[in-house]
């Protein structure tokens, strides 16, 4: 256990954790856009910045992203100094210029008192905030089917050569983690489309409902050493089956008891 100070209060931190974690445990709310509990932090959105200092720094302070800064003994953290707030506000202002139509951004900016951006709205900006959640999710999965392309303000997320991504297995992980919901996908008539790639869905042998893409099922079966039949039946039917089994067991147990 480490001892730190957050906004004047002594707190305990776990060795190896990032300070964002400690701050949250203390119930302090700081805005984040690129942090996601299932993913390694990457420090892209810069909203989680806090001011840090150490006793031996003689009053000298520094701004760091809390999602990436490891807890340290004696660290003094301030999460809402005027300067920190100013940084967050300006960053949200910049986001609003790029993604004026994003509900998520509008709401966050609103919380910092910004209704309208002070900057020039970027023409044809989409709602992607380049938080890398999608690419990180896909990478964790072991696929890396999509990646960031271009540089500077033209940076965007795209499949290789803007074609159907050959490595994509249509699992939707990227779409689910996207904080601004910009990744489009749809499902109809047993086909799922994402990144302009079409996937045939497999259906539950019991109820006929579509479950997942064949590519995803095969990938997971191979990768996780799961029985081949795993995806034959959908989760709902599996649960029902389990419940029935349990019911029989309980009934059986009752009989024994009597």
């Amino acid at each position: 256990m480490l001892n730190m100070q957050i906004n004047g209060k002594m707190v305990k931190a776990v060795e190896g954790e990032y300070i964002l974690n400690t701050i949250r445990r203390e119930g302090i709310d700081i805005p984040v856009l690129c942090d996601h509990k299932a993913l390694e932090p990457c420090g892209a959105c810069r909203l989680c910045m806090v001011e840090i200092s150490k006793p031996e720094w003689d009053g000298w302070t520094r701004h760091v992203t809390s999602c990436l800064y490891p807890a340290e003994e004696g660290l003094i953290i301030n999460t809402h100094t005027p300067q920190v707030t100013e940084i967050r506000r300006t960053i949200l202002d910049l986001y609003l210029a790029r993604c004026p139509n994003s509900d998520v951004i509008q709401k966050m900016a609103g919380e910092y008192g910004i209704q309208k951006t002070s900057f020039e709205t970027i023409p044809d900006g989409d709602n992607c905030i380049m938080c890398y959640a999608c690419t990180r999710a896909c990478e964790v999965l072991g696929k890396s089917a999509i990646s960031a392309v271009q540089r500077g303000p033209d940076k965007a997320i795209a499949p290789p050569f803007d074609k159907e991504p050959p490595d994509c297995i249509g699992c939707l992980s990227c779409a689910h983690v996207c904080p601004t919901n910009v990744i489009e996908w749809n499902e109809s008539n047993g086909t799922r489309t994402i990144w302009n790639k079409k996937f045939e869905m497999i259906s539950c042998a019991k109820c006929g409902k579509t479950t997942t893409t064949r590519e995803f099922a095969e990938y997971i079966i191979e990768k996780r050493d799961i029985p081949k039949e795993y995806f034959d039946i959908c989760d709902d039917c599996k649960r029902t089956e389990l419940a029935q089994k349990m019911g029989r067991l309980v009934d059986g147990a009752k009989e024994v008891a009597i």
Binding site: A44, M49, L94, R98, P153
Partner: protein, 618 residues
């Protein structure tokens, strides 16, 4: 041949020196990037082919030598005749015969090829060492440029090369080497100015293996070419510095990261690596001491940001070269998450001299907190553009006027930009500042890797800031928001000013935004990105305001804010009419012409062609 012991190296050196000195007469042709661009390789070939045909006593094809950049690129192609040091500037292929017949055979000086003092038009210099451009320099990292053939390891050894390595390996303990480098006060020449000794010491202490020693040869700063010239012109000095470092920190593998645009640097470095390996100076069991270290060349991805340490290390490992925010320094967890020393080309090239001559000697040069010398690429509106090296602490004025020869066409000095694209501009009032890391930073600029661009009265500072911002926006990797969106907005606002469409509020917004970009960005590119704007607005606020409030561009360069008119010096020569792309000029022969302001697009073509000073820009 492998040199298996230190003694053998000494004997080999004696042989190299004899060879080197035996060639008293030398015709040295500069094959640096500047001279090469104006055809110095053709001159070299011409010398060789003429000498092949002609039989002259004591002079053979071997008398002609190629070297790296001599620094005085503004005068290239250069040919120097040794031992006299006769300096011929702007040499053409047709001069070759003359040089051989007059200078070599008869000892005559060819006046028209000599360098003339721009201030005293009659003064000509024969010996290059007396030319002010060279006279005021002190060369450490550039010590061998212009003297040795980069392809001949024997030249390097004759010039004292690898003696420091021998000393380090046999007479010094790793800790002693680190102490020596620390005490010398050497600070990294790649931009940050971090103490090299401290970096090495930290790395050596990390309890993890293997360790890596990497040389940063990315040199992404547009216009800078110090590192390029060392890599091309004196590659062994870098290798020697790296091997000494590797021994000091206990590393056995290293890389030189060279930017894509420097193919000749790659060729010359590769050749140097092979030559050093063949002699047993690199690779397994160096000089029979049991120490092994080897170097691979990695070709950079051609992005400015790849010079940033964490991005470079990712790129070395074969990943996309994007900086990563890490609060653990790369000396502790660098390439492949292993302890890594990353230093700049110039830094490594300086190390052997420090080891050889000692930390005291080095610390005695320069200033107290910035020891030694610094190489700069001097560019812009000075007469003598090129590559220079001066002791730290020399004033900007001395660099610009003594070495640089003053401003072209004797115009008024306006500002000097130091530190590359993310550096800053210093005005006339700061021209007597000594050049060292801390003074430049305090004045709002920085040392950076050593770009130095001089500007005259006709430069618009707003446009200059806009130009650098534009560069930085397109070079930003785009990973983090303050840099990606912030610099872009800064550029939009700056452009608005140059068009006369901004308000004072916009200026305030820019200043506020700049501060957030500086603290909020993930890597050094974003953190220093607002510098071009911040430093120009600090010193040239009036100029910003005159764009904003009066819609005037004092530098007379922002198209939207200037007007072209024809004054009564016009004699009706008609030259302007034919070049005007907008057909905005009318007038009869021998009569005063007029410009239709509604049609004029301020392209400036008319001013260029008018020989009678009849076009006014206001």
């Amino acid at each position: 041949m492998r040199i298996g012991t230190i003694d053998k190296l000494d004997k080999f050196r004696a042989k190299c020196e004899r060879q080197f000195k035996a060639q008293k007469k030398k015709i040295i042709v500069c094959l640096g990037p500047g001279c090469l661009a104006s055809g110095s390789d053709k001159i070299l070939d011409e010398f060789k082919s003429v000498l092949k045909k002609k039989k002259i006593k004591g002079i053979t094809v071997e008398t002609v030598k190629k070297t790296g950049c001599h620094g005085f690129c503004a005068c290239g192609p250069l040919v120097v005749i040794e031992p006299e040091g006769i300096f011929y500037a702007k040499v053409k292929k047709i001069h070759v015969k003359d040089i051989i017949e007059k200078t070599l055979l008869k000892g005559e000086i060819i006046e028209k090829l000599l360098y003339t003092d721009p201030h005293k038009k009659s003064k000509k210099y024969t010996d290059y060492r007396s030319i002010p451009f060279y006279k005021y320099q002190t060369r450490i990292s550039l010590r061998n440029l212009g003297l040795i053939d980069p392809d001949e390891i024997t030249d390097y050894i004759a010039a004292g090369g690898y003696a420091a390595l021998a000393k380090a390996l046999t007479k010094m303990k790793p800790q002693k080497i680190i102490n020596e480098v620390s005490k010398s006060g050497l600070r990294g020449r790649g931009g940050g100015g971090f103490s090299t000794g401290r970096k090495w010491a930290t790395c050596a202490k990390v309890d993890d293996e293997p360790r890596f020693v990497i040389c940063n040869g990315d040199e992404g700063d547009p216009g800078a070419f110090m590192d390029r010239c060392i890599m091309e012109g004196d590659p062994h000095s870098i290798l020697e510095g790296m091997i000494i470092c590797a021994f000091a920190v206990g590393s056995h593998d290293g890389y030189i990261y060279v930017r894509e645009e420097y193919p000749l640097a790659v060729v010359n470095l590769q050749r140097a690596i092979e030559a050093a390996r063949e002699l047993g100076l690199l690779g397994e069991n160096i000089l029979g001491t049991g120490f092994s270290y080897d170097i691979k060349i990695i070709r950079g991805a051609g992005a400015f940001v790849c010079g940033e340490s964490s991005a470079l290390m990712k790129s070395v490992a074969g990943e996309i070269g994007e900086p990563r925010a890490k609060y653990i320094r790369s000396v502790v967890k660098g390439v492949y998450d292993k302890p890594t020393v990353l230093n700049n080309v110039e830094t490594f090239a300086t190390v052997p001299v420090i080891i050889e001559k000692g930390s005291k000697w080095f610390a005695s040069i320069g200033t107290e907190k910035s020891a030694g010398t610094k190489a700069f690429s001097l560019a812009g509106k000075v007469r003598n553009t090129g590559l220079i090296e001066v002791p730290m602490g020399m004033t900007l004025r001395d660099i610009i006027y003594k070495i640089g020869g003053g401003i072209e066409e004797d115009r008024q000095f306006k500002a000097v930009q130091t530190g590359g694209p993310s550096g800053g501009c210093l005005p006339e009032g700061k021209i007597d500042l000594p050049v060292d890391f801390d003074t430049l930073t305090k004045a709002g600029s920085m040392m950076g890797s050593g770009g130095m661009i001089v500007m005259d009265e006709r430069t618009c500072m707003v446009e200059l800031a806009r130009y650098f911002l534009d560069f930085l926006v397109s070079e930003s990797c785009g990973k983090c928001v303050p840099c990606r969106e912030g610099l872009h907005q800064l550029l939009i606002l700056c452009t608005k000013i140059t068009r006369g469409k901004a308000s004072e509020n916009d200026l305030d917004l820019m200043e506020k935004l700049s501060k957030v970009i500086q603290v909020g960005s993930l890597c050094g590119l974003g953190q220093s990105g607002p510098n071009p704007f911040m430093s120009t607005v600090q010193y040239f606020r009036d100029e910003y305001l005159s764009h904003i409030t009066d819609c005037k561009c004092p530098g007379r360069s922002c198209r939207a804010l200037i007007t072209y008119t024809i004054n009564d010096k016009c004699n009706g020569c008609v030259a302007c009419i034919s070049v005007c792309p907008e057909k905005a000029i009318t007038g009869e022969k021998k009569k005063l012409h007029v410009i239709d302001q509604d049609k004029c697009s301020q392209c400036g073509s008319c001013e260029v062609v008018c020989k009678y000073d009849a076009i006014d820009i206001t």
